[in-house]
Symmetry: C2
Subunit: 214 residues, 2 copies
Amino acid sequence: MRLAELSERSGVSTATIKYYLREGLLASGRQINATTSEYDDEHLRRLRMVRAMIQVGRVPVATVRKVLRHVDDESLGRTMRLGAALWSLPQVPEPDADDEFVRSAQGETEQLLETLGWSNARALVTISPAYRSLVVAVAALRRLGYDWSPELLVAYARLMHQAAVLDLDFMETHPSEAEKAEIAVLGAVLVQPMLQSLHRLAQEEESGRRYGFE
Amino acid sequence: MRLAELSERSGVSTATIKYYLREGLLASGRQINATTSEYDDEHLRRLRMVRAMIQVGRVPVATVRKVLRHVDDESLGRTMRLGAALWSLPQVPEPDADDEFVRSAQGETEQLLETLGWSNARALVTISPAYRSLVVAVAALRRLGYDWSPELLVAYARLMHQAAVLDLDFMETHPSEAEKAEIAVLGAVLVQPMLQSLHRLAQEEESGRRYGFE
DNA sequence: GATGCTTGGATAGTGGCACTTTCCAAGGAG
DNA sequence: CTCCTTGGAAAGTGCCACTATCCAAGCATC
């Protein structure tokens, strides 16, 4: 298919597709002559994935480029490929180590991992972006003065571990390594808004159960 | 305290505080004379909340204004105040009702609520933004061709319901209605990044358990 | 009482980002 | 032969969260 058809089938304007090509989010088609390139279903699929990441997952274009580079890197083993792709996702600022709330949040977080027995995660403490963003979030809550207990944090963590088990079980059902990395990324990017929506709906449901609709 | 001190204690520049004042995110201080206003701890607290919403929660300034307006609206009862504040948060585009994936996602989502027995949520189907964004997220996943089962969605939903129970239990520990609304908003805005971080950490942990670090 | 700093308030400017628009020369279709 | 489409480059747009610059009015100090 040519550009126009790719645009029509994906619902993305030709101008935007050209932009994605320029930004390296999409491989060029097979050049037929000076003015024509041929795209295939793989391009369409990749384009849809890019769109989903940007529109549903709100991932910046530059980040999408990094993530895809890792997903496509056949030189990496499974764990590295998957990890590299996931680790290029977060958009969290480095926590300010001089801030007292950040420091106490760090202590609290390490304590949490110990309580949970997440030994693998503890080994990643210095490098994992997920750990850093957790510290930032906890510090922000503490700074506002809410005194929710560590037990609450543990309870949330156990729930998210159950979610992670579901994620990985689903990933296992797909054979190829490239597909696994792709699913891991989509799981991080698209399942997140879904979980968020479910969370809010659940809050509305539970709130209705407890208080009715005054 | 005056502007300079408010700035120093919050870590937000005076220029930015002035910007927030202009945008209606922060009430003016008590005007002492033509060139001086006095701010109190309530201003500091509100400023920190605004910052947390914008920086940690990535909520747009215009949305923060709407949310705060509802949080401060004493004419509303508990459920309405809380709901109004939460419903002004989402930044989800209206799902395109002509899209086949959106339509089937709608069917799937309604089926989900029935399976779960979330009767309150079902009553809100037409108006809740959480429902709409859930439909968008499910449609995006389906469009990419992943065939994960409705059972998986149900499993995720049950987990998020448990999270909602934790949220509301914590909210109950705070007495005033204004505080409850505030906590509900922060729960939606700040607990979300925390859950997301926990989710990714849990994925890393579980991935390490299953595959080791090749 | 002159001098230099700070304050609140208004207005304009900045930088980043995700596109869009415009232009162009080279093909291909009727 | 004429008109439309294509890929490619470059410039422009609109939004957003600030940030910088002015300004006149205090206040503090000498």
